[in-house]
Amino acid sequence: MTYARRSLRLYLANRSYVTLIPGGILVIMLAMSLVIGVAIGMATEFPLSAQIQEGMRENNGGAVYSIPGFLISLGALAVNRNFAMALAFGSTRRHFWLGTLMGFGLTSGATAASAVVLLALEKATNHWFFGVYAFDVAALGKGDYVLTFASVFVLAVLSLALGALFGTAYRAFGTKGALLTGLAAAVLVVAVTLLSASNKEIVGSWLGALGVWAAVVVAAIAAAISIAGSYAANRLARL
Amino acid sequence: MTAFAEGRPIFLDLADRMADDILAGIYPEETQVPSTNELAAHYRINPATAGKALNRLVDQNVIYKKRGLGMFVATGAPEALRASRRASFTAEFVLPLLDEAARVGLTTDEIVTMIKDQS
């Protein structure tokens, strides 16, 4: 653990990875939701009608969409910026990967905690005073704190690990390698989707058994695959 | 970096320089000479090379090791150095002199006159 902690500290030396960025992503998303809310309100009425509020609650996936965009690039950047330094300073690839993964855990935790805090604020302010739903939404579990935390956390881990996978593949195999990795990931997603569609009953019953946790579990499996992939690519990466 | 003679190991050159310093009285008998690391730092050379120079002087009984203290000039070292330099004077200085004299056509008498004029 001593060795992995060195690379964790290297990750955390980029302080914004655990401070500004996690909260920042969600605040930007919230601001966009508010702007849209105000625009709709100006066209209709304040506070927003119950029907519009319900629509927002069901359909506003901003929290879900905003996270991957930022965190995939952060994951790729984090591994590529620090890998050469960690190796120069005598780290193994394994411990660099482990330390960085621990860092991803902290970034994801901070992001999920920010989401929970913002959800609490949203509820306390009667949905930002005029009925805007950004966190108390269907995609995050309709105001359930545990489900919100879990959803954001798993999504953040998945995004960071995907970024690390592509970033490391680029380092290990060059542009072509990164492209092939992306292609392989896409083929995997399509294959799983097709396989699920052709076995609707079985997959449906699995997901049904998981209930509201279904999305979280699926994302967690994808995250685990990405983590395994980033580990494999990391072991092959050279300077 | 102080230049050492080309084509000759540094440790030999350094040992000769230290012998020169001992002959000149810079390091009197029973006084300490610089350590391996001090020599290495001063001349910007590898400590192993400096150590070899000191070992050479130890082998020639010019300096000796006092356990835990360092290297010291042996009693009688300057006299011994002078004697050995005298012994090699002919080979090192006189023969090359005569060699060059023969090439440019100087007689022995002419050389003797030149030497006398200089001293």
Binding site: M85, A88 | I45
Partner: protein
Amino acid sequence: MTSHPPAGTPSGIVLEHVTKRFGRTEVLTDISAVLPPGRIYGLLGANGVGKTTLMSLVCNHTFRSGGTVLIDGEDPAENPVVLGRTCFIREDQPYNDAFKVRDVLSAVSWFYPDWDAALAERLADRFHLPHRTTCKKLSRGQRSALAIVISLASRAAYTFLDEPYLGLDPSARGIFYDELLLAYSEHPRTIVMSTHLIDEAAGLLEEVLVLHEGRIVLRADADEARTSAFVARGLDSAVTALVGHREVLSERRLGSILSVTVRGARTADDESRARAANIALEAASLQELVAAIGIGGIGGVDTESFTTQRTSR
């Protein structure tokens, strides 16, 4: 993890039949060498002969295509204990773009339990390294200075210096030589230093390994290597007669004047014969020796005869 000898006992670096191919190009061929610990080694040779690649292989920054590498008796690949004793800043070392010099110095301190913060501070001052400048804005000389600060203050048991004084002005090079010797005297360690600019640093080295066309063509005591070649210049026929059957590393002609770099020490007999035949004899510096190997292309010659292995000390 088993180890022979036990981990913690410095036993140096052992290379056995190490090869490296990039695609179909063989960059390093059958490299075998034993580097006992606690010495300063010079890894010499022209640009592009594989000096950096060899150090990368030893530190497992890149992967060897064949052969064995041991540091302190263990394969360094993914070995945290052994790799933790290494420090290898490449000549083109990438740093985190967002990091300032001071960020890099605090980051490196987390990796080395013996990190000498006071030394790092002093060296950074002596080299006038700007603490608040981001790494990507450093000049060539400043990058070299940063690598020197990291390498010496790490106190890593196996420190690899890759063209350490590239871009440094003469006074900064002087600081490097002094600080290298001081750090090495106070905390002995194994230092492997690659360079194609040899003469100024020749005195610092204890042993030299000369790479040519991916092979080690010369391994010698650095001080003795100063006498391992000489230059003879004179009339073609006279020089040829003097050289006899000895190995000629390189030769240059000017009309009927021939200038050859001959391998081996010149003897008293050579000197008297040279005088008689009006041949000028000069010492070949280590730089000239290495350059002569590069020009002469002796890589194909049986390397045994070029290897003066030191068996004991």
